[in-house]
């Protein structure tokens, strides 16, 4: 089988998943969720008002037709307008998703690089004091609540020391940079602990392999064993893991964006929740799921290219 057939076959496999996502979302919102028109207008709304709103949302159709509407929107990429802002959802998502990406991508790269280096150090000194200390520090970093990080860092670095902007955003390069510095640092702190532990486990898995013993028996130094033989093998799971994380960069961090008033996708979602904006939540959920499925596919393809053992 060549790569093309493989990709085609994997694409076909994603179809039941995408239908599954649509069904699940439909089940949650249209069946369990009750009547959104009632939620939106409150319990004192007049019957006529409710009826017209229901018509406007397409809720007066049968459940089957509503389901077809949902499936159609997936393939046409048309999720309609937000109830709250009355703007086209896709346009708003593109704009805010890009802002989220510019906020989360640099910390993502920095956190990766830092945690791989630290994990290498930890793996080099495995079982020794430095390794144990690094593991303990990463567990500590993982155990602090995200909200505590945000509040503490904002209060200390922005409020007390006045090093960064307290909150806010300004569109356009390079104005926005000063606003994303502190949120970026917080994102690094949030992810680095679990990253270090993950990469350390991956590296140690490799270090215990037979071919590493062979490399040592050749007379290679521990440093070149680690950087050549261990790292090249470990890069396969590491790169795979990194690619699966990419879609989440567009989604951004809900709390951080909302807290620092950065108009990214995360903030957009929080607003939608606070205003009971069903179509937006539905659209974001479905779209992010689809992006995730596609990135998974991409990961598998890259995996087959990276690992010479994988035969198609």
């Amino acid at each position: 089988m060549d790569l093309k057939t493989y990709i085609l076959r994997r694409l076909l496999h994603t179809i039941p998943i995408i239908i599954g996502i649509a069904t699940l979302i439909f089940f949650i919102f249209n069946i369990v969720g009750g009547d959104p028109a009632l939620t939106l207008l409150g319990k004192y709304a007049k019957a006529k008002q409710i009826a017209s709103l229901r018509h406007e949302m397409g809720l007066d159709k049968s459940l089957f037709l509503q389901y077809i509407d949902l499936l159609k929107s997936i393939f046409t990429f048309d999720f309609g307008k937000s109830w709250h802002t009355k703007q086209n959802i896709i346009t708003s998502l593109k704009e805010s998703g890009w802002i989220s990406f510019t906020l989360s991508f640099p910390p993502f790269i920095i956190s990766c690089a830092l945690s791989i280096i630290i994990a290498m150090v930890s793996a080099f000194y495995r079982g020794q004091f430095l390794d144990k200390t690094l593991v303990l520090i990463s567990i500590i970093l993982m155990s602090i609540s995200i909200l505590s990080y945000i509040l503490l860092f904002q209060w200390f670095f922005a409020f007390k020391l006045d090093w960064f902007e307290i909150a806010g955003y300004d569109k356009g390069f390079p104005n926005f940079i000063s606003y994303i510095l502190l949120p970026g640092i917080i994102i690094i702190f949030l992810s680095i602990g679990s990253d270090i532990r993950l990469y350390r486990t991956i590296l140690l898995d490799e270090i215990n392999q037979d071919y590493i013993r062979t490399a040592r028996a050749k007379g290679l130094s521990e440093v070149s064993v680690l950087f050549k033989h261990v790292l090249k093998n470990a890069m396969i799971p590491i790169v795979t893991n990194l690619i699966t994380q990419l879609p989440f960069l567009f989604l951004g961090s809900l709390l951080i964006e909302n807290f620092f008033a950065i108009p990214g996708l995360g903030n957009f979602i929080v607003t939608a929740i606070n205003t009971s904006d069903f179509p937006v939540i539905k659209a974001v959920t479905i779209l992010s799921a689809i992006v995730f499925v596609l990135f998974n596919l991409l990961t598998d393809i890259i995996y087959t290219i990276l690992d010479p053992r994988v035969k198609l």
């Binding site: 079982g127 040592r216 028996a217 050749k218 010479p308």
Partner: protein
């Protein structure tokens, strides 16, 4: 060439410290082959790793003893000095050919690595040498194979590649740790033949670690039998098969299946009762006492551990009651 004196290697476990190799000594003359035989867990592989100084640092260490190689004590060498030995003067091949090669580098790359490291060859020179080496170990069309990844090759081919890597720098000593155990019987014979021929060609000494007395009989000049981290018998090959001194060795030899069609219905294959005791439960006195049909009071620790003593000419055994004792006067 190589002489190991009173080597003790310990490991830290949750039950405390254990002696995986307990006070062993042997000599390996130039060009000769020593077989180290024992059940799994008897300390054979640890002996090999001790000579390579590849004992995992976090749990194990060489507690005492000397390993003298060409007049130099390698237990006191610096780590970088030792790296100059490994793969260069002393090489090792392992039991698992399927997993001992790095899956993400080509075969050629892995052979060249040793050459570039120890002989400072350029990439082109190393490549040329790698092809020669593959030819030497009997791999067909080597100029194509050097671009292959290990998973393209069969187990026997991979073991040949391992041998090529180990012999790249013409080492003085090759340690072969169960090199044929994971292979088919026909491939086993091919690999052993290859090693024998290369030994003559390169005039190297081999330490052959195995649990298979058949391999030893075919391949070695001398044999050391290990049990619970100790050498319990050491002798030239013909002597050990003709007149084993230690009951354990006798048991091992008796448990080799033989083929006598006319007698098969009346003769059952003999076995050694029991199993190797765990390291923290080794009895005082002779460690084999619980499985030995000849065990007597003296074996149970009152007279200490039986020392490795001369039982016949050039034949050492660690037993109070050797089976075929002969003194020098005979």
């Amino acid at each position: 060439m190589l002489s190991v004196k009173n080597l003790v290697t310990t490991f830290q476990t949750r039950q405390g410290s254990i002696k995986a190799v307990d006070n062993i000594s042997f000599d390996l003359p130039k060009g000769s082959t020593l077989g180290i035989v024992g059940e799994s867990g008897s300390g054979k592989s640890v002996t090999a790793l001790s000579i390579m100084r590849l004992i995992p640092k976090d749990t194990g260490k060489i507690l005492q003893g000397d390993i003298i190689f060409n007049g130099q004590n390698i237990t006191t060498l610096t780590e970088s000095g030792m790296r100059g030995m490994r793969g260069n003067k002393i090489s090792m091949i392992f039991q698992e050919p399927m997993t001992s090669l790095n899956p993400v580098f080509t075969v050629g790359n892995q052979i060249q690595e040793t050459l570039i490291l120890h002989q400072q060859l350029s990439l082109q020179q190393a490549q040329k040498k790698a092809i020669e080496l593959l030819q030497m170990v009997g791999i067909p069309s080597p100029e194509k194979r050097i671009k292959d990844y290990p998973h393209h090759l069969s187990g026997g081919m991979r073991q040949r590649v391992m041998i090529a890597i180990a012999l790249a720098c013409k080492p003085d000593i090759l340690i072969a740790d169960e090199p044929t155990t994971a292979l088919d019987v026909t491939i086993q014979a091919q690999i052993l033949d290859l090693l024998k021929n290369l030994q003559k060609e390169l005039a190297m000494s081999i330490i052959m670690i195995t649990h298979d007395l058949g391999v030893v009989a075919e391949f070695c000049d001398d044999v050391a039998v290990m049990y619970c981290g100790k050498i319990i018998e050491k002798a030239p090959i013909h002597q050990i098969f003709a007149q084993p001194q230690h009951p354990y060795t006798q048991g091992l030899i008796k448990s080799i299946p033989t083929f006598h069609p006319e007698k098969s219905h009346e003769q059952r294959l003999s076995t050694i009762p029991g199993t190797l005791p765990p390291f923290h439960e080794i009895p005082s006195g002779c460690s084999f006492q619980n499985r030995c049909q000849y065990a007597q009071e003296a074996c149970k620790g009152l007279q200490g551990t039986p020392p490795l003593a001369l039982a016949a000419q050039a034949h050492w055994a660690a037993c109070f009651y050797p089976l075929h004792p002969k003194t020098h006067q005979d």
